[in-house]
């Protein structure tokens, strides 16, 4: 693991690291914010943040304005990259496929399967590395935006023992039923749509009752709301299984980081409560 940069921030530390990942078979970058007073003797829980299409580990840390409250709450934040990277990694010219668009799944189709194993990277390799390296507990929460909101929901619903709570901003809620998801799933996962279901939060909610606390934030002026995001599918499917889910709709807010920044503190409070920090 190699330190790329380090900035003091809000009494804590924001750092970026690279490491050779066995799971995605290339060098990966992630960012970590450690709050003040996080030590081996006083480890802190971690909020994992999964970013959206075109993002890297940098967007959330620079634009969300999350560190101030995270510092006060005593919560670490880890922001991984959104796909494998490097010259040897398969890609397409479009912004919504290939690099920057890993969709947090394990690809089964060539040429994607060699590197695009982001589901395993996020659920296994990365937290093991984080918990081995930094002064953190094994307690985890997870959140994300857009494609990363999809990733957070799917990962938490499939691994409820690993996360105490999950939240999402403007998630791709029903990817088997929208253009972004259908393109990505058909290329990464092939024609077997039964496999697609495993990466669709709305489908997972319809299958059985889930007990993990779930909170979703959505702007009504989001340009992707109707065609790509479809948060109403989360609600209608959760009702089928008596799963509790909070969906907060906001008049006038769009898909940008200005929306995330406006409500990130509420999500940090939500996770902090579930992590027992407050």
């Amino acid at each position: 693991m190699k330190l790329v940069s380090e900035n003091r921030a809000f009494g804590g530390t924001h750092s970026r690291y690279t490491h050779q990942s066995d799971t995605v078979n290339c060098e990966m970058t992630f960012a970590v914010f450690l709050p003040p007073f996080a030590t081996k003797e006083n480890p802190v829980p971690v909020l994992y943040w999964l970013s959206g299409l075109t993002c890297t580990d940098e967007n959330f840390m620079q634009k969300a304005g999350a560190m101030k409250l995270a510092a006060q709450l005593g919560m670490a934040i880890v922001a991984p990259d959104t796909s494998p990277r490097g010259e040897q990694v398969a890609d397409e010219d479009s912004y919504d496929m290939g690099k920057g668009a890993g969709f947090y799944l394990n690809a089964t189709q060539a040429p994607w399967d060699k590197h695009y194993q982001m589901y395993d990277y996020i659920t296994k390799e990365l937290p093991a590395l984080i918990e081995d390296t930094f002064p953190v507990t094994g307690e985890r929460a997870i959140s994300g935006h857009s494609m990363g909101g999809h990733g957070a929901l799917v990962i938490a619903l499939r691994n409820p023992q690993q996360y105490v709570s999950v939240s999402a901003f403007s998630p791709v809620s029903n990817p088997t039923n929208c253009p972004w998801g259908q393109q990505a799933f058909s290329k990464y996962l092939g024609d077997d749509t039964s496999l697609w279901q495993e990466y669709d939060a709305a489908v997972l909610l319809s299958r059985e009752q889930h007990y993990i606390p779930i909170m979703v934030e959505q702007g009504r002026a989001d340009q992707f709301l109707t065609e790509q995001l479809k948060p109403e599918a989360l609600i209608s499917n959760a009702q089928k299984t008596d799963t509790q889910i909070t969906l907060n709709m906001h008049e006038g807010y769009d898909h940008s980081y200005f929306f995330i920044a406006s409500f990130i503190d509420e999500h940090l409070q939500f996770h902090a409560a579930n992590l027992g920090l407050i």
Copy 2:
């Protein structure tokens, strides 16, 4: 004036506009944050933010995390660009001269003098436009970072009747005495160093007592501290004229927006107090 984009943020509005500037003789872009409930009947004061080298109107609005408290305080924020722009505008390849590096002065030397009139733009044309267009009072405070900290200090010290308070993060405090300032001043202003003095905050502080409240934030791990920034010149020169100035030094903090974000709320509170908002 043309609206470029608009985002709802913290119950208020973040917008970007372009307009044809008579002062700098090209199209200029600025960003404005209006807090909730700002109306013609309930106008709000304005904090002007001047950004540093290479920045545009976007950096502060996206990275500083200032809008949350500004919304609560009822304070508008206006962030102009850092230089004239466009194909017809003189430039150099270096990041610290030409576009993105206007140094908030009125250039006297060709080819710069045709467009690089940022001092007049910031002190006259822009506030007149803002106060003519938006639901704001004539009350102004000013702040900035690095080159923009230099700009804020110089502009406030020379126009104390126009601003109730001034603050700066990591300002270029004594530009006649550092490489960034000497390069810019020699090219924009020519050989007459008496003109340089008018754009040097440390020099202005040494001339007479100033009564405007001044607060400066500086990180001790700032890579530019010793060679370019020299905040100690502000203190030593202010002492000569019994001018009050607060300089807060912070162990471990660097020149980045992570530093600005860590302490922006203290600066908003400082200006809000001077604006009578709290």
